[in-house]
Amino acid sequence: MQIPAPFDYVRASDVDNALALLERHGPESRLVAGGHSLLPMMKLRLARPEWLIDINGLAELDFMVREGNVFRIGALTRHTTLLESPEVARLFPIVTDAEQVIADPVVRNRGTIGGSLCQADPAEDLSTVCDVLRAEAVIRGPAGERVVAMDEFHRGPYETAVGQNELMSELRFPIRPRSSSAYEKVERRVGDWAVAAAGAAVSLAADGTIEESSVGLTAVGLDGTVAGIGDLLGGRRPDEDLFAEAGRIAAAACEPVADQRGGIDYKRHLADELTRRVLRRACARASEEQEG
């Protein structure tokens, strides 16, 4: 049994109460959602919060709803809920693709989308997914609510725009016509973090050319989406040469580091290979969508 350093624990009754508790207990307090990132770090004594503020009872943060062309997902929505939602699978197949390869059922049953984004681990799959889908994060704090885009939300490894006395309440995903998306990850074993992964989203014009597109990479040292890919693909018909060119751009854009999962050249190769694969699949799905 791995034993964390001593800490106190309190359950929040609603969002306002959670914010008040954060205020009261100060910088040494931490929110706990699914706990699947925070608790392992506490057990290894890499994190030593003095107070845990449990937000698992906050039903107001656990929802999924479509409002016009926006899909809202509450921060406390579990991985499993996302994985099993037919609506998510239809609108954002990238989310379903990613959820299939995030951790294992035990982790997915508890872990949340809010926790994933706020943990901001460089290998977090949902961060890439949100980048690619151009999601917005809703942050609540003592001063009320603010909505930030992903490039503003991410502040580097393990850092986000969410302040110590704030919490993330939801994510908002724009819904685009004739669009689809895909995610693929290479891992050493089921449940392992990515060696590298890529996600892509595309929207097609009525004539079948690519209107909008974005590609994101996981665990290879790239912040946000790959620059230049939207411009490259815009107005062109999806084909293998185009995907190959996009793959080369992605490989050049990333800055992987060597570790036990693989060397730099391999990860760069994966950035290329997986970019091609996800673009291929996203385009195929989008054109099915169009025909369907």
Partner: protein, 807 residues
């Protein structure tokens, strides 16, 4: 689901001996056969009782402070702040142990190991101090209050550099030690082998690494020590695979008289060799209990288990094969650099510093063989041999089976055909190999042919050829292994001077129910079922009427424990013989009851009856009651149905098997998918086929782990990079296919029931099959070898033409 070849496809001696299961399970309501495990109801319901479930009145809790660095001189330890913690009862350091003459303890390999550091830290994670506190949390918290000053030294991490002239000497505690060499050991005839190599048409050589891996049992190691200061008795609940050997060692080392020590090994959550040796934590729990006068529990966490307890393998090998140009294998030669870590603490027979690695001659009829093994110290955790490896048979089988594939490639021969061409033939058994083993029995070709038939080998090769045309990467890997297990005859094998025999005691109660007491200890192998079945087979009492007692030195006869697949070969022999002793005694009692002469009686399962008069007979239950009743007994027969034996096996047993693995490799990512795995095993007489299959399934899963993902790595400073399950990957159900198992039956001619042991066959035999399949898949890239683990990154590197060793 799993295809099981229900009928033995071959089997010399099949049906030839009483007790052979070949008649099929259904016909045998008693004894051998596929019955459910007696221990499962308690495990399935969460009612197992493990060391960590034990709670004694007034029990305190221990935690170990471990070294953060791999090599450092200990300058000072300040424990005052920890001692001031309100819940801390004691803090023990190396200095305290020196006062008790317990700072160093003998290992199982004629070395010593520090219980707590006194002079120098020799690996990261080494034990530095022990805190005893009122609860586990306080003990853990107090570790942070201990202030230790280290003087960092350069570490030796790469075993290849351990013998360099300028390498730091790790074991300066040993008098006269000037380098890091532990031993040089050789076997076989070097000159004869060289002569064969010099004259051979074809010679191939390959360097290969069997990386350091870890047994990673689900239950980590732990102990509860309960020293009674009044009567001087020690009860020690421990995660041990060898309770009797431990007790004797504690008596020798700690000076507590052996009759005052009781070692209890309750339910054990997996061992795989990890729980053979004596760890500092066990000794510290004992010292903690002596110092505080209270029972002390110590249970390590996962990181401690992975970083400090017995690893396995870590063999850097060079293999060479000499052959004729038409594929007759003539000789095998190998040179090994063995990384033993900071202390030589491998658990293996005294005369075998490289374990049974000398079985590297494999299943082939050779003219010559030679091997040299050099063991070295490095600044890594000690241990070795552990992990279902049959005393390094794993490394040996990997070496020869990889080499045979390298040769097949060189000769452009099919690897299955090459093996078939070189097998030791049935009429050559018992077969004396070139390194001193006498293979007791074997019939290799039928097993190989059965596995090929189950696989559809020809069809697979056709499919592979088609896929290659299309640029798809499919590989087919073959391995054929022979193990040497069941150590062993006392004239050859001992561990710290204790002969490797096993005892059994059997008592039939007056109503005909029985209890059998074993000296071996189960860590999940199903002993409570298998050993009841052996007694059932011999006495005709149903297995459910036979209790199996094991794991408690106060309750069981002496013996060396469970590892190296030795329980069925050794203890299984003891149990069969003790049951036969009872059966023979029952004959005399039955004769007295029937008022006839013993020689006029005949046995049928469960009953002695008068020859020619089947109606006149006595069942075991009747005889048991007679024995304890008032029947006048013949001279020399006591009034009970009890017996005991100690079984000294005449030879080891030599299980074998033919494995075929099919993999698909993603050309874009290097990901390996094990699509199919066919395992044909021959473990001689099959007692409970379901348990055998379970052992095989587990071992094959281990094999996938080692071949594809498992490795304990270190950085250049000696930091262990495999200290959690995030970094040390073990396989899940998602990485393994549905196993296709089959069998042949070639009973051991010298074992009382012909059984050979199955516990490690699949762990031994599967890694080469998987690696051979991966290398076969990569053939289009000109690859003839790649080392484990075949992770996506490493496979991709191999595809780029630069495969590299993992260390």
């Amino acid at each position: 689901m799993t295809t099981t070849q229900e009928r033995p496809a071959s089997g010399p001696g099949e049906g030839a001996r009483p007790g052979n299961p070949a008649a099929g399970d259904k016909d045998r309501p008693i004894g051998y056969g596929r019955i459910q495990r007696k221990e499962d109801p308690r495990f399935i319901r969460g009612k197992g009782r493990y060391v960590d479930d034990i709670v004694l009145p007034g029990m305190l809790h221990g935690a170990i402070l471990r070294a953060p660095v791999a090599h450092a001189r200990l300058v000072s330890i300040d424990t005052s702040e920890a001692l001031a913690h309100p819940k801390v009862k004691a803090v023990i350091t190396g200095k305290d142990l020196e006062g008790l003459n317990l700072a160093w303890a003998p290992t199982l390999s004629a070395d010593v190991q520090a219980v707590l550091v006194t002079d120098k830290v020799r690996f990261q994670g080494q034990e530095v101090a022990f805190v005893v506190a009122e609860d586990r949390y306080a003990a853990r918290d107090a570790l942070e209050l201990i202030d230790v000053e280290y003087d960092i030294l350069p570490p030796v991490i790469d075993a290849r550099k351990a013998l360099d002239a300028d390498a730091p000497v790790i074991r300066d505690d040993l008098a006269g030690r000037t380098d890091n060499r532990i031993f040089d050991w050789e076997i076989g005839d070097a000159d004869e082998t060289e002569a064969v190599f010099a004259a051979a048409d074809v010679v191939v050589a390959q360097d290969m690494v069997y990386p350091r891996v870890h047994p990673a049992p689900m239950e980590t190691c732990g102990a509860v020590a309960d020293f009674d200061p009044i009567d001087g008795g020690l009860t020690l609940y421990e995660t041990t695979q060898a309770p009797h050997a431990h007790r004797t060692l504690y008596a020798m080392v700690a000076g507590i008289p052996e009759h005052k020590i009781r070692v209890v090994s309750p339910d054990i959550g997996g061992g795989f060799g990890n729980k053979v040796g004596i760890y500092p934590g066990y000794v510290l729990a004992v010292v903690g209990s002596i110092v505080t006068g209270k029972p002390v529990k110590w249970v390590e966490d996962r990181s401690e288990n992975l970083m400090s307890t017995s690893f396995a393998r870590d063999y850097l090998m060079r293999g060479e094969i000499a052959a004729t140009k038409d594929g007759k294998i003539l000789a095998v030669r190998t040179n090994v650099l063995a990384d033993h870590g900071a202390f030589n603490a491998t658990a293996q027979p005294t005369k075998n510093p490289a374990g049974f690695f000398s079985i590297f001659t494999g299943s082939y009829d050779l003219q010559a063989a030679y091997c040299k093994v050099t063991g070295v110290y490095t600044n890594k955790a000690p241990g070795g041999v552990a992990y279902a490896c049959s005393f390094r048979v794993t490394e040996a089988v990997y070496l020869v089976e990889r080499m045979v594939d390298v040769l097949a490639r060189k000769l452009e021969m099919d690897p299955a055909e090459l093996r078939l061409k070189n097998f030791i033939r049935p009429e050559q058994f018992p077969y004396a190999n070139k390194t001193g083993w006498e293979y007791d029995s074997g019939n290799y070709e039928p097993a190989m042919r059965l596995s090929m038939k189950m696989a559809g080998y020809e069809e697979l090769r056709r499919e592979q050829a088609e896929k290659r045309e299309r640029g798809e990467l499919m590989g087919i890997g073959v391995s054929f292994f022979t193990e040497t297990v069941g150590a062993g005859p006392r004239k050859h094998f001992d561990i710290v001077g204790l002969g490797m025999a096993d005892g059994a005691e059997l008592r039939v109660h007056p109503t005909g129910k029985a209890v059998v007491r074993l000296s071996v200890q189960s860590q999940g192998q199903g002993h409570e079922t298998t050993f009841a079945q052996i007694v059932a087979e011999e006495l005709g009492i149903p297995p459910e009427d036979i209790d199996v007692v094991h794991g408690d030195t106060d309750q069981t006869p002496f013996g060396l424990g469970t590892y190296g697949s030795r329980s069925t070969p050794v203890s299984g022999g003891a149990v069969a013989l003790v049951a036969r002793k009872v059966r023979d005694k029952a004959k005399f009692i039955a004769a007295a009851m029937l008022e006839t002469r013993p020689e006029d009686l005949e046995w049928e399962k469960g009953r002695w009856f008068v020859k020619g008069d089947p109606g006149a007979g006595k069942t075991m239950a009747e005889i048991a009651l007679g024995a304890h009743g008032t029947v006048a007994l013949p001279d020399g027969i006591d009034g009970n149905l009890d017996a005991e034996v100690t079984y000294d096996p005449p030879n080891l047993t030599f299980p074998f098997g033919a494995y075929i693995c099919v993999v698909d490799v993603d050309p874009g990512t290097g990901r390996v998918k094990v699509r199919r795995f066919i395992a044909v095993d021959d473990c001689g007489t099959r007692i409970n086929p379901m348990i055998i299959e379970g052992q095989v399934h587990g071992g094959l899963t281990d094999g996938v782990g080692m071949a594809l993902m498992e490795i304990i790595e270190f950085d250049e400073d000696g930091n262990c990079l495999g200290g959690s399950f995030m970094d040390y990957l073990i396989p899940t159900a998602m990485e393994v296919p549905d196993w296709e198992t089959g069998f042949t039956v070639t009973p051991s001619p010298h074992h009382p029931i012909g059984a050979k042991g199955i516990g490690e066959s699949a762990t031994v035999g599967s890694p080469p099959a998987i690696v051979n399949a991966v290398v076969d898949a990569l053939a289009p890239f000109g690859i003839t070898h790649m080392d484990m683990p075949c992770t996506p990154a490493r496979v991709w590197e191999a595809m780029q033409g630069r495969p590299r060793p993992p260390v």
